[in-house]
């Protein structure tokens, strides 16, 4: 007994073909952006809030201590708070849209790849935005307050390419980490997050213990110096890719929970 073949069906319903892989992935990207609040407004709001809080604190410091305080702020970590938010962003994006995408008869594969493409787009957008702001900050002498939000060491202060790469790799890495947590949550709910968090903690501690016991901290420091800021940023793309693959594989067998 042979069933209606797909091609036969296609001609019956109006000469339809399966959309190309890219078309199927791109509609997932559009789906994420259909809800502007969580993909555009909230991330911009988070960045703006961090920016505002830092400026206010800097204004207070300048007012109290005078402009000399800026030397103590050289290694400001203010924008670092934007990174953990990327994990939240990624988990939300996956958790909120996965059941709906499957309800729209999307495959997990297309959803995963489309979501990953959203991460790349987000990272690229914010890396351009932050790079522009870093130059504005330079030209305005730290927004008139001697503030260094977008040009501290960790985010890059070099030429334009280095700044773009550093912002891009940093944000993408945390979104890819978020995709692992997101996939774990979608597939195993709270239990998945708990087990995953413990695993991450054990691995991080294990690495620290290993480095300490082998007296390798100096070597680690030398490595940071030798690869330089751009090299370090480029290296971040490697773990980002690893996390993206783990997240993708975990999502392939997930089922929408109600």
């Amino acid at each position: 007994m042979t069933a209606v073949s797909i091609t036969e069906l296609g001609t019956r319903v109006g000469g339809s073909r399966t959309p190309s892989a890219f078309a199927r992935i791109w509609r997932i990207v559009r789906l994420h952006y259909a809800n502007r609040v969580s993909t555009i407004i909230a991330p911009l709001g988070a960045a703006a809030a961090i920016f505002a809080v830092y400026l206010i604190v800097q204004a207070i410091v300048v007012h109290e201590v005078g402009p000399s305080a800026k030397h103590g702020e050289q290694y400001s970590t203010s924008l670092v708070y934007f990174l953990p938010y990327q994990v939240v962003f990624a988990v939300q994006a996956m958790n909120l849209t996965f059941p709906f995408a499957l309800g729209m008869s999307s495959t997990r594969r297309d959803f995963s790849l489309g979501t990953w493409l959203v991460f790349v787009i987000q990272s690229a957008f914010f890396s351009v935005l932050f790079t522009v702001l870093s130059y504005l900050e330079q030209w305005t002498h730290g927004w008139g307050l001697g503030a260094q939000i977008f040009q501290t060491f960790i985010y890059g202060r070099g030429e334009v390419g280095q700044r773009l790469l550093t912002f891009f790799a940093g944000i993408l890495l945390f979104q890819c980490i978020g995709s692992v947590f997101g996939a774990a949550f979608v597939r195993w709910r709270a239990n998945g997050l708990m087990v995953l968090s413990c695993t991450v903690m054990v691995l991080a501690l294990g690495a620290a213990v290993l480095i300490t016991f082998t007296n390798s901290w100096a070597a680690v420091g030398r490595w940071f110096v030798s690869v330089g800021p751009s090299g370090f940023a480029a290296w971040l793309l490697l773990p980002a890719a690893v996390f993206a693959v783990i997240g993708h594989l975990a999502l392939r067998r997930a089922t929408p929970k109600s």
Binding site: P19, L102, S105, S106, T255
Partner: protein, 324 residues
């Protein structure tokens, strides 16, 4: 009716969730371009079956084929499927208009005018956040997507929770009218059996993960009847025709039996024997076949073990639902 081969073929399909068996070696066929009722009690396995058929879940064993292929992760099959379920989740800040704007990206036959008309029919506020919609309005969102997507294979899983009688009638009317114009395969799961009885061309009844009925609706409608008369006459009649007794009521010397397996011969004989034979509704038949049957009549010990496992699974799922 066309002579197309089946849209859905399921063979020995089993789905387990831990110790709970949701589907127990299910085999069935659903013809192309038909409206099939998938009926059964809560937790019978209807939703699980639809989840496997729409690729939302993976079978533990056996085979499910949709348009001749395995549906899971198969974009070529899934693009022809629209699955509307009561428990569908939407992105947090979505409004109905977002749903209707995104749906055409996924369903190539989407008819925006039809969707607009349905929005008016159901008086759905499209600019309100989905979280703020009433249960009935939420159901209307699903019903509209299911109808306007015009997918060659459309599943409605309890599509009208909270919809009032008028809205349900609108759904039946629009479904039937659109189906006549654009024939497709529709699988409808519901508890309101009598309401949809006239819509259905094929009926599949599932209970505790097993298929207990699978037949054309016309055949089922005449199949069950109640026979009333003197106890001796009725018993002799039932024995003569080897009818299956689903329910038995006695009062003094009189008996009224609900039986399955009535055909023309039986009907004619009842007339000659002076027994009163009245057809019963599809709902009556199904209620009696799924839990309302004479206890212990045809249930072996395996059935009992199966049943308690299914019940455990159900209560686990209920707890999960409550904690949500």
């Amino acid at each position: 009716m066309t002579s197309l081969t089946p849209a859905i073929e399921v063979r020995d399909l089993t789905k387990r969730f831990g110790a709970m068996t949701a589907l127990d070696s299910v085999s069935l066929t659903i013809p192309t371009d038909s409206i099939t009722g998938l009926l059964g009690r809560n937790g019978a396995g209807k939703t699980t079956l639809m989840h496997v058929l729409t690729g939302q879940d993976f079978p533990t064993a056996g085979e499910a084929r949709v348009f001749g292929q395995t549906p899971a992760e198969n974009a070529a099959v899934l693009q022809h499927i629209s699955f509307i379920k009561e428990s569908q989740r939407y992105p947090d800040d979505f409004k109905p208009k977002h749903v209707f704007r995104t749906a055409p990206w996924f369903f190539e036959n989407w008819d925006a005018d039809f969707a607009d008309q349905l929005v008016e029919d159901f008086r759905l506020p499209t600019g309100r956040r989905i979280k703020k919609l009433s249960r009935g309005q939420l159901s209307a969102v699903g019903v509209i997507v299911g109808l306007a997507s015009r997918a060659p294979l459309t599943f409605f899983d309890e599509p009208y929770l909270g919809l009032d009688a008028v809205a349900r009638q609108i759904f039946y009317d629009r479904l039937l009218a659109d189906y006549a114009e654009f024939p497709r395969t529709i699988v409808l799961s519901t508890h309101l059996i009598d309401e949809v009885a006239n819509l259905l061309e094929h009926v599949i009844v599932i209970d505790q993960g097993r298929i207990v009925l699978d037949a054309p609706a016309d055949e089922l409608r005449g199949r069950a009847a109640s026979i009333a008369g003197s106890k001796a006459d009725v018993d002799a009649f039932v024995a003569r025709h080897r009818l299956e007794v689903l329910k038995r009521d006695e009062l003094g010397g009189a008996a009224s039996l609900l039986v399955d397996g009535v055909d023309e011969v039986v009907r004619a004989d009842a007339l000659n024997s002076g027994l009163q034979l009245t057809p019963v509704s599809l709902q009556q038949l199904i209620v009696r076949r799924t839990g309302g049957a004479l206890s212990g009549s045809d249930a072996d010990s395996a059935d009992h073990a199966q049943g308690s496992a299914a019940r455990r699974g159900r209560s686990a799922r209920a707890t999960e639902g409550a904690s949500r």
